[in-house]
Symmetry: C2
């Protein structure tokens, strides 16, 4: 037997961040494009856009810097606040994983 878990950030009852959105942001940074990142995850661009938009509204910060147009149709890079969110979430995930596994072993 083992333990499974999932965590997410929410505002009220709305899920605003978790494993999927983190992956989307990391791919956006790597690929320089939210559209390409969404495509690489089989996510529609409108879903990706809504996700980022909801996150920015909920936290009242800017996550992506977008340049519009140009030969490649514009690009997206993470803002400092976007990078900070990912770093904090990584730390959260790592520490919670450690705690959960420790408690599970102590109880079962």
């Amino acid at each position: 037997m083992n333990i499974g878990w999932r965590i997410w950030l929410k505002k009220g009852e709305l899920k605003i961040f978790g494993k999927g959105p983190k992956e989307l942001l990391q791919r956006t940074e790597k690929m320089g494009s939210l559209r390409k990142a969404a495509m690489s995850m089989n996510m529609s661009y409108s879903k990706a856009w809504n996700l980022i938009s909801n996150l920015e509204k909920a936290l009242d910060i800017k996550i992506l810097d977008k340049t519009i147009g140009g030969i490649d149709g514009g690009s997206s890079t993470l803002t400092q606040e976007g990078k900070a969110l990912i770093d904090k979430y990584d730390e959260l995930e790592k520490r919670i994983e450690e705690a959960i596994l420790k408690i599970y072993k102590e109880v079962f």
Copy 2:
């Protein structure tokens, strides 16, 4: 902003216990009947039965004592091992909740 989470027990990749099954067992004990407990949760009896059966197989313990037939169509009570599972899972949930909230406050 806040944090949400869900935990479950698994064997391999199969989820074998969590919030729903715990509720089912607690209601079974209270109502004296797996069938009535399942009905009260809008769960089919076959689903409830499979859930208990998979759990018993995965942990190699007996969870429910069943008496068959009689005027009320038989009854179900939790075994000592079934009660111990619920108690341990309650402790697990409680301690993990405390840890998650503590870590979340420290990180964010």
